[in-house]
Amino acid sequence: MSLSERFNRWIFESWSVSAEGLGLLRIISALFILFFLIPGYGTSHFNFLADLPPDFYAPPPGPMMLFESFPSAAIFQWVHTILLFSLFAMLLGYRTKLTSILTGVSILILQGIIFSVGKVNHEILVAVVPVVMAFSNWGAAFSIDSVRRGHNRQTENWPLTLLALFIGFMMFTAGFPKILGGWLDPTTQATQGHLLNQFFVRERQAMLAEFMVQFDSVLFWELLDWITVLFEIGFLAAVFSPKWFRRFVAFAVLFHFSTMMTLNIAFLPNFLAYAVFLNWDGIYQSNLRLYRRLTGKRGERSKKRSALLLSAVVGLLFFLLNRLSSMDLVLRESDLTLHEVVFLFFALFVVMWIGIKKCA
């Protein structure tokens, strides 16, 4: 097989998802963004930024430098409203390609303004996922588009490969500076240093943080340094094999889980991107089988109804979790939120369940 053929196979045949699988992914992704990943912390956060004097406007080099100060609260609300409308349209599958792109762009604009306080958070994947997946035709099923005349049911697999490439490269950019910074030097325990920094400076002291601060084994911490670097660098190579990429995504879940337990950093935005690589056809089929068993209905309509029911249940659960999380009943002293902890435990459970199923 020639290099060109291999390149084509990698782009077009690495991943395969049906219209139904992509439809479910679109709905769950839209709900996930809607309840948990919209940039900023609502009106009070936007008002705070809008009131900041121009002295504190420090845009990162890039398009935000076109402005000289933070926009007014009204502009924040406008962008926020556009984002909500486009996100709802994406959820319902109305002009899905356009509204998915609009969702991604609105997220980018909000992020850009928020990051102009002088600190960039690395959450660009929240915007990248809807933009890239817009080209997969993820509005082909369970959508308003799918009932419109002349709609196209053909899905595209290459956006998944493209998204995998973005994730793999971005992970590489996390690993490479660590090598230059001395993480592999056996006389430095960088992970332990970061733990101390998070624990004392940022007061991230929830979960196992206190226990780990007292855990003073040079071998253990050095091993963590090496595993972290190898994992992040290796992610880029894994992009070229779907099997290995899924393994790295599974390991990423374990990695983020341990980071949450020790450093109290959850990195939830990444989970939106990781979720794309779940077996959505399998999830759709399992859900359909369960629906048919519970209701006894076998007709063609059961396909749509099973998906709608699952979407409604997930939407309701997300809504409740969002409300509970915003009540600040637990983790009051931490900047970790209840929903972050719940999602990371759930992701860990999913990874372990898939792992056990594969081994059995």
Binding site: F7, N8, I11, Y41, H45, F48, L52, P53, P54, D55, F56, A58, P60, P61, G62, P63, L108, Q111, G112, F115, V117, G118, K119, V120, N121, H122, I124, A127, W158, T161, L162, L165, F166, F169, M170, T173, A174, F176, K178, L180, G181, G182, W183, D185, Q189, A190, Q192, G193, H194, L196, N197, F200, V201, R202, R204, V213, Q214, D216, E232, D335
Partner: protein, 170 residues
């Protein structure tokens, strides 16, 4: 269909060239200025915080002084700016307060805003803010890591402007 495949291949080739190029740009611009945005990068967490056999951790504080000469109220930056997400607080401090002397210019508008913020957080009639940067040294002991010593690396004062006294400009 064939044309479409060619377009997609071209997109992939462009992205595969662009990703390392933009990473290089991020490195260069980040070195001389600050990290550009938007960029397809994750945080490197490059620092290792090691000194001799232990660790050195920098910690910033904001001390709020009143004109009555009472002891200052010492706050962590996240306590002084509770509206900011914790993940952005160190970057906000680094960019605006922990810079070298030439970049510590605050307009009257900023001093008024800081006054408001100080009053809101401490409920005191604040007059001055001291920005303090300390370095904590931790070393290995038989029963775990312990802080050995603390040194003050930076301290300077910002004279606040009371909302009701617009003529005070120092």
């Amino acid at each position: 269909m064939e044309m479409k495949s060619k377009t997609i291949r071209a997109i992939f080739i462009t992205v595969m060239i662009w990703l390392p190029v933009q990473y290089g740009i991020v490195g260069i611009v980040g070195y001389y200025q600050s990290e550009p945005w938007p960029a397809f990068v994750f945080p490197g967490f490059k620092s290792v915080y090691v000194y001799n056999e232990g660790f050195e951790i920098e910690q910033a504080y904001i001390e709020v002084w009143t004109e009555q000469g009472e002891p200052p109220v010492r706050l962590l930056p996240q306590e002084f700016f509770p509206e900011l997400p914790l993940s952005q607080v160190p970057g906000f401090m680094r960019t605006h307060f922990l810079t070298d002397e030439t970049n510590r210019q605050f307009s009257n508008q900023a001093k008024r805003w800081l006054y408001q913020q100080a009053v809101q957080v401490t409920e005191l009639d604040a007059a001055l803010l001291d920005i303090v940067l300390e370095v904590n040294y931790y070393s290995h002991h038989p029963h775990g890591l312990e802080r050995d010593s603390v040194t003050e690396k930076m301290r300077y004062t910002i004279k606040l402007i009371d909302q009701n006294e617009p003529q005070r400009t120092i």
